[in-house]
């Protein structure tokens, strides 16, 4: 007796009985997710109001504290109940930090919370569970409560500077989920790739990589892989190796593998005239042409995605990898920019919402499905520098 594979699979899978989904529950969950998106959009604005009030009434205290030594690393949170009130969500929060020139920057805004870090962060990153920052060699994580140190001897933070070229991308997270990676240089002759899960708050992999002794950089982190290379690239780095998180194995990789992986991610963009042959990118890493995330130029009421092709700026289409539709973003109604303004993508808040930061620090959130953008957090004063995930601090 023989059975073709197709029939065998069909007979086995069709043993699954009919589905009885609870439609009311699905609608409830869907509405809950829509509400979270609305809250995300307004949370940033709320944080700005709180910040403005804090600056107004606490300016003197802030200046006084600037003259003192930075406090202990583990400062109590402004609200002792912050951690308890954190709600697990798949929607990411807007994260940013404002640095007033001449004063130490030690507050990170995470949604509607202000978290004191107690030290000058040099890099911010974000996962579904909270945010990370680095100081001189340390990696810290906060879910909105007191930050905890989760890594040390960060290669990019070493004073010797061997890995200092890309300090702004020294810690790298995936566009969704809880995975984050960095290099640990406890043993400089043998840097170690560390993969950390911010949901379980545990290291999930620690892999020494001898060939990174001279130079390595993280290229990208996805749900399944950490991509890295040994070269120094201008524009988007090309992955030479990838670490398979499930198999706990490092092996050679190719740009084609990387592109296929990105195409399968719901949070990503494809640049070009056709999504099938365009270049897939995460949007938040370095874009194919320049050392910065995906750029959008404000032209009239529209935000035009920009990618350099053959060393010249050329506006092309950007497609959403989830729906394969062309992005058509519009500036918020009544939002005024000068003759031109540039925005950069710095965070995916969910599969349909991205966060952009403008040259003067305004943070917009844009819904890909409708193209609508709103001003979520107005920019800071002229003497204040705003830092968002994936961007370096001044100096």
């Amino acid at each position: 007796m023989t059975t073709p594979l197709r029939d065998a699979l069909t007979q086995r899978i069709n043993q699954v009985g009919p589905a009885h989904p609870d439609i009311e529950e699905l609608v409830g969950l869907g509405e809950q997710r829509l509400r979270r998106r609305r809250l995300t959009a307004v949370a940033g604005a709320g944080a700005f109001v709180a910040l403005a009030i804090a600056l107004a009434i606490g300016g003197t205290a802030l200046n006084r504290s600037a003259d003192q030594n930075p406090g202990p690393i583990h400062r109590p949170p402004t609200n002792p109940h912050q951690t308890q009130t954190t709600t697990p969500t798949t929607t990411r929060q807007i994260v940013y930090s404002d640095h007033k020139i001449g004063t130490p920057g030690d507050t990170v805004h995470f949604g509607d919370r202000a978290v004191e870090t107690g030290n000058d962060e040099v890099h911010l990153d974000v996962t579904d569970d909270g945010f990370l920052y680095t100081d001189r060699g340390g990696v810290w994580f906060s879910d909105g409560g007191t930050p905890e140190q989760v890594g040390s001897h960060l290669c990019a933070g070493l004073p010797t500077g061997e890995f200092g070229h890309f300090a702004n991308r020294a810690v790298m997270s995936a566009n969704s989920g809880s995975t984050v990676a960095w290099f640990d240089c406890t043993h400089q002759a043998r840097p170690t790739l560390v993969v950390f899960d911010t949901s379980s708050r545990q290291e999930v992999a620690r892999r020494p990589v001898a060939f990174c002794k001279e130079f390595c950089e993280l290229v990208d982190v996805t749900d399944e892989y950490v991509y890295l290379n040994r070269g120094v690239y201008t524009g988007a780095p090309l992955p030479e190796y990838r670490f398979d998180l499930r198999a706990n194995r490092l092996r050679a990789s190719t740009p084609q593998e990387y592109a296929e992986d990105l195409r399968s991610q719901p949070r990503g963009l494809i640049l070009g005239d056709d999504w099938q042959i365009g270049t897939p990118i995460t949007g938040v890493g370095r874009s194919p042409s320049e050392d910065g995330p995906m750029r959008f130029d404000a032209t009239g009421s529209r935000l035009i995605p920009v990618v350099s092709v053959n060393d010249r700026d050329q506006a092309t289409s950007a497609f959403d990898t989830a729906t394969r539709r062309v992005l058509r973003l519009r500036l918020p109604p009544g939002y005024h920019v000068g003759t031109t303004a540039t925005f950069r993508l710095f965070n995916w808040l969910d599969d349909d919402t991205i966060a952009l930061v403008g040259g003067r620090g305004d943070i917009l959130t844009c819904q890909l499905s409708t193209g609508r953008c709103v001003l979520a957090v107005p920019g800071p004063d002229a003497d204040t520098w705003r830092i968002v995930p994936g961007f370096p601090l001044p100096g």
Partner: protein
């Protein structure tokens, strides 16, 4: 972002009523576990609800749900039962004759399919259970047809090796894979 209108909720409910069983079977096929499949179906349907205004019609919504199931399944690497090793022991079919042999054969095959890496399993299921062409499989997985071919080739190679000829499962020849 307003609440969904009554009309939109009604359209969504119609899709759920009509297509849930097919979507659940797809989810089961790609994750190999009934509980996980129900979780996956729920997640996909919630995403469909959230994205409803941009999905335009029911076929677009179902396509979105199917793509969500496939891409989410590939990314669910942390779910333990998704990666349970295949069983070494042929389950007792509880009877004699062709029927029980067939059930045992299907079970052996299924356990080995469950043990495949996610991308290989998804490619196999889309190609041989959903009966999609390589181009359609590539479209749903968001990869090239070349990748689908290589994933299928690897999956079929493993199954041929692990599911012996005595089980009576007929595997397609490599030449027959292309459509």
């Amino acid at each position: 972002m307003a609440r969904r209108s009554r009309e939109q909720v009604s359209g969504f409910a119609e899709l759920v009523e009509a297509r849930s069983t097919a979507l659940l079977r797809l989810a089961y096929a790609v994750v190999g576990d009934h509980q996980l499949a129900q979780d996956l179906l729920q997640e996909a349907l919630v995403k469909v609800y959230v994205a409803w205004p941009r999905l335009r019609d029911e076929s677009g919504a179902e396509a979105y749900a199917r793509r969500t199931i496939v891409t989410t399944a590939i990314s669910w690497r942390r779910r333990r039962s998704f990666h349970e090793p295949p069983m070494d022991v042929v389950p007792d079919s509880g009877g004699d004759g062709d029927q029980s042999d067939r059930i045992a054969t299907h079970e052996v095959l299924w356990q080995q399919v469950r043990g495949l890496p996610p991308r290989q399993r998804v490619a196999l299921v889309l190609r041989y259970y959903e009966d999609l062409s390589e181009a359609e499989t590539a479209d749903l997985m968001g990869c090239s047809t070349g990748t689908v071919k290589s994933q299928l080739s690897a999956a079929l190679g493993k199954l041929r090796e692990r599911v012996g000829p005595e089980t009576g499962v007929l595997f397609p020849e490599d030449q027959a894979v292309t459509r």
